[in-house]
């Protein structure tokens, strides 16, 4: 770790502390948790862009699939729905596999030309109707089961922490399929293709209610950490808070003491829960960081950089560029998927409407570019810096506008307009940060270290 990285993280710590003293520790920890998740996502994008120069603008899809994994792993199964439509759904799945197999067979067996195109089209269209014949009644039956509370298949009822790994697997699987289609394309076409695929994945999550209730959202997800209300009733927790605040409690009068202790316990329970999350997320981040760093320093990492810097030369040396691109695409997407599952775990709910390319794709890109592409620590720092500025831009803008317009009348239309506009200063600030870093420090806050 060099001086710049140390200074960067120290500045972040100071900023979080300032939020803690200025707003509240609860807010500060909430920001920290999202910073940690953002850092994991940035790490994933850095694996793709920083190591191998893949311009993937579909991060949102992998974050969404990670979120889906959280639902499918942790929610209790809905047996009635499975009984109502499970068999038909399986048959539809089988029909889909069969169709895909037949198309593959046709492509393999029939020589290139008009005949092949026609055969593929006929097989696909016939397959579509067979699949629909099973699929449509199946989802209708599933969605009819208690639509206000379930109306979907539910999950496996396992602990939600397992979903973080499952989220990685989901994202990796999707990335493999997407990579098969898109990785042969030119860099700019690849970018547009991934942007399009991410929109489709989110459209599926929004509309396939049988899968995860779509826009009806799944709320009240399982938690890997204790609930505040349990903590507040636990004797050991009250004792701990009491001993930590012994001074303040001793100073209070006998009558106030119980009330003060109760308030302290309520406040502390929220902070304790957030600290638990922070611990879990930090552990994941550290593990991934160590792994990525080892990979980058290995011969494999050197090969990746060689491919990034000169694809043709690497290919001439016998490196399989397509396979290596596929590898980093799958690995990086898996990391984003893990982060997506962590995010849904933290929120305790899965809301497909929340996925917007600005927040889940382009913002992550800003993190990587700002932090320093090609440098894992840089991507992590970028995640912290950008999330912190994204979240604190609004209160700061509001405060600035308030100070600037203090002289105006309270009902001045311009003042009202500006106060309302404060929330929208965020994208401007992000854009400016990105453009300024690209222009004046193109290698980011912590530049990539070139090892020879």
């Amino acid at each position: 770790m060099n001086l710049r990285a140390l200074a960067g993280f120290a500045a972040i710590a100071a900023a979080l502390a300032a939020v803690g003293f200025g707003q509240s520790w609860s807010v500060s920890l909430a920001v920290l948790n999202l910073c940690l998740i953002s850092a994991v996502m940035a790490l994933g994008v850095n694996i793709q862009w920083g190591y191998a120069g893949l311009f993937n603008v579909g991060t949102m899809a992998f974050a969404g699939l990670g979120g889906l994994a959280a639902v499918l792993v942790s929610q209790p199964p809905v047996h009635a729905a499975a009984a109502a439509g499970g068999a038909d759904l399986l048959l539809a799945g089988a029909a889909a596999c069969l169709t895909a197999g037949l198309v593959w067979l046709v492509v393999r067996r029939v020589p290139r030309g008009r005949l092949r195109t026609a055969c593929v089209a006929v097989t696909a269209v016939a397959g579509y109707f067979v699949i629909a014949a099973f699929f449509d009644p199946a989802i209708e039956a599933i969605e009819a089961v208690d639509p206000s509370t379930s109306g979907y298949l539910g999950g496996l009822g396992l602990p939600i922490v397992l979903s973080w790994a499952a989220g990685g697997l989901f994202a990796a699987g999707a990335a493999w399929v997407i990579g098969r289609v898109a990785l042969g394309l030119r860099a700019d076409y690849f970018a547009i293709a991934t942007l399009g695929i991410s929109e489709i994945v989110i459209a599926v999550l929004k509309n396939e209610d049988w899968l995860a209730r779509g826009v009806k959202n799944v709320t009240g997800l399982d938690r890997p950490v204790p609930y505040e209300i349990d903590l507040q009733q636990a004797g050991w927790f009250a004792d701990m808070v009491g001993s930590l605040n012994a001074g303040a409690l001793a100073a209070a009068s006998e009558a106030d003491r119980a009330l003060l202790l109760r308030d302290l316990v309520i406040e502390a329970s929220g902070i304790f829960v957030k600290l638990c999350y922070a611990g879990l997320f930090a552990a994941v981040l550290l593990a991934l960081l160590v792994l990525s760093e080892r990979a980058l320093r290995s011969p494999w990492g050197r090969m990746m950089r060689a491919i990034r810097d000169n694809e043709i030369a690497a290919e001439a040396l016998g490196k399989n560029v397509y396979a290596r691109h596929m590898q980093v695409f799958v690995l990086g997407s898996a990391v984003v998927g893990v982060a997506g599952a962590m995010l849904v775990t933290l929120d305790g709910q899965f809301t497909p409407n929340a996925y917007h390319p600005m927040r889940f794709t382009f913002l992550i890109w800003v993190m990587v570019i700002v932090g320093g592409s090609g440098n894992n620590l840089g991507a992590v720092l970028g995640g912290f810096i950008v999330w912190l500025s994204w979240i604190e831009a609004e209160p700061l803008a509001l405060w600035t506008i308030d100070a600037l317009t203090a002289a105006m009348a309270h009902d001045d239309p311009l003042r009202i307009h500006l106060v309302e506009a404060a929330a929208h200063v965020r994208p401007i600030l992000m854009g400016l940060i990105l453009l300024l870093v690209m222009r004046f420090s193109p290698r980011g806050v912590i530049p990539e270290t070139v090892r020879r």
Partner: protein, 338 residues
Amino acid sequence: MPVDLVNALVLLANFVVVPAIAYGSQLALGALGITLVYGILRFANFSHGDLMAFGTMATILATWQLQGWGIGLGVLPTAMLALPAGIVAAVLAALAADRTVFRFYRIRRSSPMVLSIASVGVMFVLNGLVRVIIGPDDRSFADGTRYLLNARQFKEATGLAEGLTVRTSQLLTLAVAVVAVAALFWFLRRTRAGKAMRAYSDNEDLALLSGVEPGRVVLTTWVIAASLAAVAGSLYGLDKSFQPFTYMQLLLPMFAAAIVGGIGQPHGAIAGGFLVAFSEIALTYPYRKFLRYLLPEDMQPDGLMQLLSTDYKLSVSFVILVVVLLWRPTGLFRGRVL
């Protein structure tokens, strides 16, 4: 012709053909801007959607001002009078972005990916500016006569069961698009500046050697692309409604249109725009009523006969994009760009 067949065709015209022509014209104008920037400046410009929103915003503000003064165009929407303001604003925004951002990377001959990432920064800034200035909500600014032909009039005139509606904004969109495209083609083929643009896009070094001034070519490109963006955005806003976020979502169909037609080729962008628009609308239209007219009593369909749920509208453009890229990577029209 039997009445049922006519009714079926009118139904299709009303719900598929007319809306798709209007939407296709809007996409084509937007895709032309993307294709021009790609052909001359050689990068995928992610900020084009928000440039459209920016121009439209200026048009709306000017429209409100004109409406406040009581100036209107009668039958036509006031926005037509305000359009020059939108064009000027979009051109100024594009030129400012070029001057402060893109020129730096162009001179250093950075990779197209770097320029694309820079355009993401420009996208953020423009998006934020639009939201700060006009707010994130739905804004409607259409006035004038809403319908050129409404369903009741049509039914009374023809005696058919199905009505045909043509909104003023739809016809206006087509008319403006035709004029803009004709002017663009005339410019590219006949004028000196247009020929310089084509030469520059075809072979930069040769063009420079022949005395084409790169600064001027770039300037012309931005002026044309931004003007088209402002026109396309304003027409889209008139036809549907204005919401800053929807313009960002238009980016994908516009890219699809540009790539499907062969990126860098103006006529390809137009064909691509209509292809995307027709596919999106035709695939998500429920054909139940249409088939009811055509099929005998005992073969009536039960379901909606919709090939794709409306929610997957956006996905259609992408599927077209992937199919074309796999099947014919250079786009539908091969050959020289511009």
